[in-house]
């Protein structure tokens, strides 16, 4: 079966068996990753704390979303493109009605969405910002040095998820089952590689931020 000759078959494959496989790999992989982290735990800390850990930890989970003014001034392009595409990605992921329905279908919870043209615009901006991050990664000496094949792979998959979503919504790939199938396929690729690449940060960043905030908070520093 090729996607071009049987686009509906392709769509149903991506919506059915492949989705099941993807979600299984994702769930197993992610749970393993989280368990790997959380069950390692921390050793007891005997130093007299200046403050509690929970609140500062939670505070940092939130505050790290935006950079401190100094960092923003030193790396505005890096920070802005990163912020924009993350925000755009989240808006498209969580506030696009079809995605909300997907989540409702899987978990039974839902929330209000945004008008589609707005999400569409956000998606376009996200694509531009993602392209800019690639340019930045390719040109900035630090990022060149840091980047591995994984970084480019993850970028490509992320970009393709957004791109296929954009193309499908705007019906720039035809027929639509092919377009939607491609979007779902790339999203599944995203899910499959998520636990095994830096994409894990989608979940672990919150743990990391909390650990950071807790550690500093214990010493009376807002981190």
């Amino acid at each position: 079966m090729t996607a071009l000759a049987d686009p509906m078959g392709f769509l149903l494959f991506t919506k059915g068996p492949l989705f099941n496989i993807a979600i299984a790999i994702f769930a197993l992989g992610l749970a393993a990753r989280l368990a790997e982290i959380l069950l390692l735990g921390r050793r007891p800390n005997f130093a007299e704390p200046r403050a509690g850990e929970w609140l500062p930890g939670l505070r940092t989970v939130v505050t790290r979303t935006l950079p401190d003014p100094g960092t923003f001034k030193r790396a505005p392009f890096n920070v802005l493109t990163g912020l924009i595409w993350h925000l755009g990605f989240l808006v498209a992921l969580l506030l696009f009605i079809p995605h909300i329905e997907l989540i409702k279908g899987l978990f039974g919870i839902s929330w209000p969405g945004l008008p589609n043209p707005f999400v569409d615009l956000v998606t376009a901006v996200t694509l531009v910002a993602l392209a800019a991050t690639l340019v930045h990664r390719l040109t900035h000496p630090v990022k060149q040095r840091l980047s591995t094949i994984e970084d480019y792979l993850v970028w490509a998959v992320t970009f393709l998820v957004v791109l296929t979503g954009y193309l499908a919504y705007n019906r720039l790939i035809n027929p639509y089952p092919l377009a939607l199938g491609l979007h779902i396929l790339t999203a599944e690729l995203f899910l499959i590689i998520l636990p095994f690449t830096k994409l894990t940060h989608i979940f672990t960043a919150f743990i990391a931020r909390w650990y950071n905030g807790a550690s500093f908070g214990r010493r009376g520093v807002q981190s």
């Binding site: 509906m8 919506k15 979600i23 749970a31 995605h99 329905e101 899987l106 043209p117 707005f118 027929p175």
Partner: protein, 366 residues
């Protein structure tokens, strides 16, 4: 009874159909077939010359909805024009003769028009590997009858999603081993007029096109005529502006439903469904499913029966329930727990195997 064979043009005139009426029919057909008005004279000329082609209609694993749909065609109407422009030589539901006489009529038509007749099929049929007893006519298996009939056919038209794609009988678990016509016929021109049932004017439109040009119309990847299946329901849906604005009906008689908001959240399959309902509408233009408040079932697409619940939005996967997702998550925790226990053991081993550093040792490096 003398058998002088007329052309369609003569035939119409003999019946007192005026030239103006004929021209009007040509205009309507051209519009229906999405042909340029400039082609109306050519269409008229072609129809003038056309002989009424023999049509043999075989019904296999079907529900007769497709035939019923054909009778709802209003332009051209089944009785006024199409039935008089073709010679429907075999059709279970409509023909006078029964039993042996009916079969004899079919065999005669196949013999007289060998290589010329149009073969129309509605319904799927048990495939060559399935038990032939699952569907027989006159003691003959559907498969054998189709293969015999297709030999002398000029072209094959699979009417309805069952014939085109296997449809309901082929839906999981396909208890009778049903297959689509195109699974069996590879060496004849074939058109799929899908839909459950198809829009009546699409059936007649394809026939009119064949009649006018002696060829099948341009087709998409599923052998469906592009003129009717080139655009999705969603693309032509009058509720599309609400989709774009993000206004959705959440149930069947809420405010949104009354105001005609988009039915996506109620499971509308319009975006992935290619058919002419939104433009041609049903029953002489009276309405169509979305206008009457029900989401599109996606009935003109392959495997639409297995494409998830009709009330699950298009974006919802077909396979998993939330329980299963949770199960997968729990399994993940189990795997993760094992891994983490191993990792923890690594840490403990490391703590033990780590050798304390002393100043004396450090001094040796100086």
């Amino acid at each position: 009874m003398t058998a002088k064979k007329h052309s369609v043009g003569e035939h119409l005139r003999d019946q007192g159909v005026s030239r103006r009426a004929f021209l009007k029919f040509c205009t309507a057909s051209a519009s229906l077939l999405a042909l340029s008005p400039g082609l109306i004279p050519a269409l008229a000329a072609a129809l003038e010359q056309a002989r009424r082609p023999s049509v043999i209609w075989l019904s296999f694993q079907e529900c007769t909805g497709c035939t019923e749909s054909l009778t709802r065609s209003h332009a051209p109407t089944v009785e006024d024009l199409i039935l008089e422009m073709i010679s429907l030589d075999y059709h279970h539901t409509l023909q006078a003769a029964a039993g042996e006489a009916a079969e004899a009529a079919r065999e005669q038509a196949m013999k007289d028009n060998f290589g010329q007749y149009l073969l129309i099929v509605d319904g799927s049929l048990p495939g060559p590997d399935a038990n032939p007893g699952y569907s027989t006519i006159a003691g003959v298996s559907n498969y054998a009858m189709l293969m015999e009939a297709v030999e002398g056919a000029a072209a094959v038209i699979a009417v309805g999603t069952c014939a085109a794609f296997g449809g309901l009988p082929e839906a999981a678990p396909n208890p009778t081993g049903a297959v689509a016509v195109m699974d069996l016929i590879k060496d004849k021109p074939l058109v799929n007029v899908s839909g459950c049932p198809p829009v009546p004017m699409v059936i007649t439109g394809v026939l009119a096109h064949y009649l006018a040009f002696g060829r099948l119309p341009e087709l998409d990847e599923y052998h469906r005529p592009l003129a009717f299946f080139g655009q999705s329901i969603h693309d032509r849906c009058y509720r599309r502006p609400f989709y774009d604005k993000g206004l959705f009906a959440e149930t069947f008689d809420d405010e949104g439903a009354r105001a005609g908001w988009c039915l996506y959240r109620l499971g509308c399959k319009g975006p992935s469904t290619y058919n002419a309902c939104a433009t041609m509408r049903w029953n002489s233009g009276t309405s169509w499913p979305i206008e009457a408040g029900h989401p599109c079932l996606g009935c003109s697409e392959p495997r639409f029966w297995d494409a998830g619940s009709f009330y699950a939005p298009l974006s919802v996967p077909t396979g998993l329930s939330s329980n299963q997702v949770l199960t997968a998550g729990a399994a993940g925790v189990l795997v993760g727990g094992t891994v983490a226990t191993l990792a923890r053991r690594t840490v403990e081993t490391a703590a033990v195997s780590r050798q304390p550093v002393t100043a004396d040792e450090l001094e040796q490096t100086l």
